[in-house]
Assembly symmetry: C2
Homo-oligomer: 277 residues x 2
């Protein structure tokens, strides 16, 4: 039987394999400087950090270690957001039942030191983020460990930090909402038939049609993110072709990465619940 960390790693691999996921790197789509194999190396590299979470270590350290290992490839940021979702879910499963309630407990249990590790993780890789509001400038994640004194002065845990950006970041929103979309997507993947990557690609479109992808809002703009949502719905309605849309979004550099992160987390949950590959 695969271990928690093995299922987490396999979830990352299955996510990037699932195709077409319009705009994402997948087994049939990539960018010149962000390629499929970078995600393979990212998933393998993340393993020591995933092991920390599986062994009951602090979530912040598990995340920082996983990002450090993930970053050891030439593509840059491959799975930062996915690991930010998967790591607490591994920690949840390591300590008991993998449920939204227990995942919320893991979030509530995070500390200021977890927050510090989260900031250190930004030193390993460039991550596209919004400018923070002016009063939070001292907590800009791009400051990396330089922001730690401010975290300590304000006594902010990792849960608090996530709460600060939950309205503009779909990954942070999962932290404050019991990973609800991750668990719902897991159930949707489990309900479908056929090869796992095909199921995940379909559920990706459902998520994309359901809510704007905050990574697209950040890297492109809200108008583009809303277009992405409409066109994902058009694919589900049979009005557009998913493969054509994937080609177009890659061409335009429109990469709904937050939705991919949620699919990775959902695949982990589904594998833990017994999904067979």
């Amino acid at each position: 039987m695969r271990s928690l960390a093995q299922n987490a790693e396999l979830a990352l691999l299955l996510e990037v394999t699932s195709t077409p996921k319009p705009g994402n790197v997948d087994r049939r789509h990539e960018y010149d400087d962000l390629r499929f194999e970078h995600f393979l190396a990212g998933a393998v590299g993340a393993r020591p950090g995933l092991d920390v979470a599986a062994d009951g270590g602090p979530v912040g350290r598990a995340f920082e270690r996983s990002v450090e290992g993930m970053a050891e490839q030439k593509g840059g940021n491959t799975q930062f957001g996915a690991l930010l979702l998967v790591t607490p879910l591994v920690a949840t499963a390591a300590s008991g039942a993998l449920t939204p309630e227990r995942a919320s407990d893991v979030v509530s249990g995070t500390t200021v030191e977890d927050a510090a590790e989260f900031y250190r993780a930004f030193e390993h890789v460039d991550v596209a983020v919004d400018d923070p509001p002016e009063d939070l400038d001292a907590l800009d994640v791009r400051r990396g460990s330089d922001a730690i004194p401010e975290l300590e002065a304000r006594d902010l845990t990792l849960a608090d930090v996530m709460g600060l950006s939950a309205d503009v970041d779909g990954v942070a929103a999962e932290w404050v909402d019991g990973f609800s979309r991750c668990f719902e997507a897991a159930a949707a993947i489990e309900r479908r038939d056929g090869p796992v990557p095909d199921r995940a690609a379909h559920v990706f479109l459902e998520l994309l049609a359901d809510e704007v992808d905050t990574f697209v809002v950040t890297r492109n703009d809200r108008e583009t993110a809303e277009e992405v949502t409409r066109r994902a719905q058009a694919v589900l309605d049979g009005e557009e072709d998913a493969a054509d849309l994937a080609d177009e979004f890659v061409e335009r550099d429109v990469n709904p990465g937050t939705t991919a992160d949620i699919i990775a987390a959902a695949l982990f949950v589904a594998l833990e619940r017994g999904l067979q590959v």
Copy 2:
């Protein structure tokens, strides 16, 4: 820095990603019952066995454990041959320099118990093999652990067992020949430019054009294996298209798996020598 076991796992993943490798499962080609995701799960599942080799454990046990984990997916045999090459190479790197000479020393150091573990590995998964010559019927690998008393009676080490089939099995031939094609293919991958999967796919064709693939001889016949060799050369000569040939071989169920096994081992050697992904 990735560990030995991480590089071994990544090598398995990069092998199956590299495309087109005519007849193999790769990121763009698969069989209905043997799919890309089965190889992902196989690589992740093999990890505990690879860890045994990396930690200096016996090669036979490392192999048996890696196959046991590999088999935990619905596709059946994905990386049996690749693991039979990668496991001793991990053991070699774990104990010193990764050279053909030292790999031969690791082979020479195998025991009857290693041979017994090799036979046990056949109980985890169905592997396509030739019927043995009549005088070796008691050592048919398909007997699994039932053959162990015979191994013990004849005092056969794993190196001895490999020697018995080196003339009909390209993986066993590597064991008796210092993994020469693995090391040569590693050097060829290192010499090329561009994305690692593209390099590996090219070197795959070079290997395929150079020698008949014994897995094709076993599963199809020698005539087909010789055709594969000729047509791989035709691709290298610009007379055939690799992608078209890949489609045709998958359609005909002609899968040069031994050559893929050597590419996986070569990728491991190249990663250990510093190949960047």
